[in-house]
């Protein structure tokens, strides 16, 4: 709604209307020729819908256009831009933003020199300039309502949902210190000194009073999360520094909100009593803690809701967004810190939601968040540029330059001073380099601008001057600091972030280290950080997870969850790489289980190893295996495609039903199962891949598979009865291993990653036939050939 409010300014819309008219006149001209041609050949002129405003009725009328051709009076095509102008303009802006973003990455070296945020601001300036050149009023795009209700939440939610909790909590003290004390210091230092400067004769600023100065100081002093994110994401700084600056920018919101309201309030009264200061402190506590409480409540609600979404996977991701947005709005309703509410909501819900929702939904959530936040960010920077051109400016050299200098000075003093105190308490001290980056990374951004924009013109006659100064400060930090921080980071050799993905060894040792440190703390006899974390973890595991996570997964310890996730990822990678023999390079492809297993096998296991095959036999089996895997893959592929897009209103629905019935029939016929026991560390996928390539692996897997996960391959159509018997032998031998395999399969089914479940009837049928084999999900996920093999798509469904 606020978008409508923001963009529905009569002047702006009229300008667009006029231009839109021009455009449409041209289109009509073109359409006219198409229409006559189309009418001659076929009555279908659906292309008209694009320009005709999408009105159905008109489309239908148009279809009979040639019949009415002689009646001139009938409006074949009419124009109603006003009807669509709001969404149309929004789409235009979004399109512009996206195209710009796209364009920057097409120019090869540009993005490595200039940060994207700078480029976007320049684009905004250009667009604003063009609009102004056309002699029209620049629309007030960066309206505060639009900004706070639409553009900001996606970015903050993205930040909160993907907040690296571990480093955040480990450094929470430092972050809070910078965010609360640092921001307070900045606000009062800048505000106070600005007032002092204003009192100097000859600056013509003597009408500026103390409270507006302090208000200005509190607006300008807060580090902006959007700007910080935009710049820090490009410089790949190490985790500690990133979380320090970014965490500060998130948590200082509460301070800014309170200071802003406080000074705005007292600018009327003109007097501040000690009582007001006390109230301000209380207000700060309420705003920040209240925001966190609201966010936590919504986060828990979201987690709880996601417990029950297993049957409606389609709308699953929506809950994440809606609950978070509700949290933000609810917090804003009480003037609590919406940013903190969003952060809390995202961070609280994430572990539980991730455990509950399917892998696909998780991907959806991830992509939607990233998409929204990046579009919002792009729009914000473009709008900043446009607003700069649009706004009335009151340039005062003294005020602006003093502001910029004071902001720098106060930031440096604040960071150095606070670090001096903090370092007394930190185990890992902040070095001088770290302090420099933290100080230099204090970028200001659109939040400050929007807060300045919110100021009342009548109450603050110097509003335009404030806005000009704020914009200058934003431009200074984003352009000068944002552009130089990358070379400086390289120059100072500040440690960068490691890009490598987490390995299972690291996970094991991280866990081990946690427990070790907890244990050492206990032995030392004091309750420190690790002790409380351990307590919280255990409480979480014992009670909260049980309530918020569906099924049995709440019992899963972190390490096991990680392991499953990793295996799952490997499976997907394998499938995406074509499901072939080749393994992704990141995987331990060159070393197999036989290399780490002791060679001498326990006699019991050795006995169960396969009888020796002749070379010819072996070749035969492999051929069968390969061809059947291929077929399974094809069959399942078509099955998947339809399951995924299953929409009862789609044209292909009947076709799909037919296919499904045939599928079930087919599965009834399938009575032969081949069970190939696989070595455990090799995820099943890898085993299969090796199976296809390496005949030796066959025996080794068999030999080392005592009570380990198995992979089961069903034969769609056995090629010769002889070989089938042989394979049945397999399955008998592997039968003991099936229990585990099923469990593994069940886990995977919960993951639901690669595809939706086939209809439950299908599973049951299959389960009965296949002697309790209930893990089609696993097979399916392993058998999906991925995007390749397009040419086989149209093959008949049954072999």
């Amino acid at each position: 709604m606020s978008v409508r409010v923001a963009l529905h300014s009569p002047r702006g819309s009229r300008s667009f209307l006029e231009r839109g008219l021009l455009l449409l006149v041209m289109l009509i001209f073109l359409e006219g020729t198409v229409l006559t041609l189309g009418a001659a050949s076929s009555p279908d002129i659906s292309a008209q819908d694009n320009t005709g405003g999408g009105d159905d009725q008109r489309g239908i009328e148009g279809r009979h256009g040639h019949a009415n051709y002689t009646k001139k009076a009938f409006p074949v095509l009419s124009l109603d831009y006003r009807h669509i102008h709001v969404p149309f303009e929004i789409s235009l802006w979004v399109l512009l933003a996206s195209l710009m973003k796209l364009g920057f990455h097409l120019i090869p070296r540009l993005s490595s020199i200039v940060p994207e945020s700078c480029l976007l601001i320049v684009v905004g300036l250009l667009v604003g300039g063009l609009i102004k050149l056309a002699g029209e009023e620049v629309p007030p795009v960066l309206d505060s309502n639009l900004f706070f209700l639409c553009l900001l939440p996606p970015i903050i939610l993205d930040a909160g949902y993907f907040l690296p909790i571990r480093p955040f909590m480990e450094n929470i003290g430092t972050i809070l210190m910078f965010a609360v004390v640092g921001t307070l210091w900045n606000a009062f230092f800048v505000g106070g000194l600005l007032y002092a400067v204003c009192q100097i004769e000859g600056t013509y600023l003597s009408q500026v009073e103390l409270l507006p100065c302090l208000l200005f100081g509190s607006i300008i002093s807060a580090v902006d999360p959007v700007a910080v994110l935009a710049v820090f994401e490009e410089i790949h700084i190490n985790e500690l520094l990133h979380i320090l600056v970014f965490g500060e920018s998130l948590l200082n919101d509460a301070v800014t909100v309170v200071l802003y309201h406080l000074f705005e309030e007292y600018s009327d009264a003109g007097e501040v009593t000690p009582m007001d200061v006390v109230l301000g402190v209380i207000c700060f506590l309420i705003v920040s803690l209240g925001g966190i409480a609201v966010g936590t409540i919504y986060g828990i609600l979201a987690a709880f809701t996601s417990r029950f979404t297993s049957h409606t996977r389609v709308i699953e991701p929506l809950f994440v967004f809606v609950y978070s947005y509700m949290a933000y709005l609810s917090a804003e309703m009480f003037h609590l810190s919406g940013i903190m509410a969003l952060i809390a909501c995202g961070a609280v819900m994430r572990p539980y939601v991730e455990a509950n929702i399917s892998h696909k939904s998780h991907t959806t959530v991830k992509y939607f968040l990233k998409m929204w936040s990046s579009v919002s960010e792009t729009l914000i920077f473009i709008f900043l540029g446009v607003a700069t051109v649009a706004g009335p400016h009151a340039w005062n050299w003294t005020f602006v330059s003093v502001t910029v200098i004071l902001c720098l000075v106060s930031r440096v003093i604040g960071v150095v001073g606070l670090t001096f105190i903090i370092n007394k308490f930190r185990i890992v001290k902040l070095t001088t380099k770290d302090q420099f980056i933290v100080a230099y990374g204090g970028l200001r951004g659109a939040i400050a601008f929007s807060l300045g924009y919110l100021l009342d013109k009548d109450l603050f006659p110097m509003r335009t001057m404030f806005l000009t100064a704020i914009i200058t400060e934003i431009f200074f930090t984003v352009f000068v600091q944002g552009m130089t921080i990358k070379p400086l980071v390289d120059l100072l050799a500040v440690k960068k972030k490691q890009e490598a993905k987490r390995s299972i060894n690291e996970e094991i040792h991280t866990q081990f280290l946690d427990h070790l440190l907890t244990g050492i703390e206990d032995i030392c006899g004091h309750y420190g950080h690790h002790h409380w974390k351990d307590k919280l973890n255990r409480f979480n595991k014992k009670y909260i997870k049980k309530c918020l996570i569906a099924g049995e997964r709440y019992k899963e310890p972190q390490l096991i969850a990680f392991y499953h996730k990793m295996e799952f990822k490997q499976a997907i990678e394998l499938v995406e790489s074509g499901g072939g023999v080749k393994l992704p390079s990141a995987m331990p492809s060159q070393v197999s289980m036989q290399n780490i297993q002791p060679k001498k096998l326990p006699p019991a296991v050795a006995e169960r190893a396969l009888p020796q095959f002749t070379k010819g036999r072996e070749e035969e089996i492999r051929k069968i295996l390969r061809s059947n895997l291929q077929k399974t893959r094809q069959r399942l592929r078509s099955y998947n495609r339809h399951t995924l897009v299953a929409d009862p209103f789609e044209d292909g629905w009947n076709d799909f039903i037919l296919k499904k019935q045939r599928m079930i029939e087919l599965e009834k016929k399938m009575s032969n199962y081949l069970t190939v026991p696989a070595a455990p560390p090799d995820s099943p996928t890898m085993c299969r891949a090796r199976l296809a390539s390496d005949p030796n692996a066959f025996y080794n897997i068999k030999a080392s598979s005592d009570g380990v996960p198995t992979i089961q391959v069903d034969l769609a159509s056995p090629q010769s009865p002889d070989s089938v018997n042989m394979l049945n032998e397999f399955s008998k031998r592997g039968a003991t291993d099936q229990g585990l395999g099923q469990r593994e399969g069940a886990d995977r089914d919960e993951d639901q990653g690669l595809m939706m479940k086939p209809s439950s009837a299908g599973i049951e049928e299959k389960g009965e036939e296949g002697g309790g084999n209930k893990n089609p999900g696993l097979m399916r996920c392993l058998s999906d050939p991925g995007p390749s093999n397009e040419d086989e798509e149209d093959e008949p469904f049954l072999p």
Binding site: I504, V591, P598
Partner: protein
């Protein structure tokens, strides 16, 4: 930096024998000189650790396994046995010893604790590296129970099983798979290609360093030694 522990021993011996430790500490500045930027475990902290030691050992001069086993907070730690064993492992005493002991005195207790001391503010790369090696060596020794220089598959499995020992049957089943996957990962990272008939003996210390190079152990494996006495607060 390597010889810091010996200094600890020296000091702790003095503390231990004389018990006038505060006076003694204030007088001696050798410690400060060695470490450079202030003591890493301060004298007060050593005093408090000593107090805790006495509390745990019931005012005896030596500490036994049972004393540690009875710490209530420790009882729910899944790797409790390993932690306790580390205190009685001669390899962690910086004396080139091997095997285990039955009881430890305060200096040994302190030396083991010194593996967890926080890093100094400004370190050179070599110092950082040596601290890193020292801390990782401690971890390595915890895994390498038979002291043959490698963590074998069996030992690794044992570690993971212990880690998951609090999660019931589910953990036990998966532990093996996880350990095997991890071992496979180590083998592939450190060896690259292996022929089918080759055999990866186990994780050597060099490989151990390699696989954990992304964990900034020097900034993570440390605890805060208190300057205040809180021993009566804790169980």
């Amino acid at each position: 930096m390597n010889n810091v522990p010996s200094i600890y021993i020296h000091y702790s011996l003095c503390i231990y024998s004389s018990c006038h430790y505060f006076n003694f500490f204030l007088k001696s500045s050798i410690f400060n000189c060695i470490v450079g930027k202030g003591p890493v475990i301060s004298f007060e902290q050593i005093g408090i650790l000593h107090k805790r030691f006495k509390q745990l050992s019931h005012n005896e001069d030596t500490l036994r396994r049972d004393d540690l086993n009875t710490i209530p907070d420790l009882s729910c730690n899944p790797i409790r046995t390993q932690i306790i064993e580390a205190f009685f492992d001669k390899r962690n005493f910086h004396q080139n010893g091997e095997g285990t002991v039955q009881e430890i005195s305060f200096e040994e207790f302190l030396v083991v604790m010194s593996h967890f001391r926080p890093p100094a503010l400004n370190m050179t790369e070599e110092q950082r590296e040596s601290i890193r090696r020292e801390k990782l060596r401690f971890l390595f020794n915890m895994h390498d129970t038979d002291n043959d220089g490698t963590i074998t598959l069996e030992e690794y499995r044992h570690v993971v099983e212990e880690l998951l020992s609090r999660s019931g049957a589910l953990g036990k089943e998966t532990a093996k798979g996880i350990a095997d996957a991890a071992m496979l990962e180590v083998a592939s990272i450190s060896m690259g290609h292996m022929e089918p008939d080759e055999f990866y003996e186990g994780i050597t210390f060099e490989h151990f360093l390699k696989i954990l190079k992304d964990i900034e152990i020097e900034t993570r494996m440390n605890i805060r030694f208190l300057n205040m006495d809180t021993t009566n607060l804790c169980k």
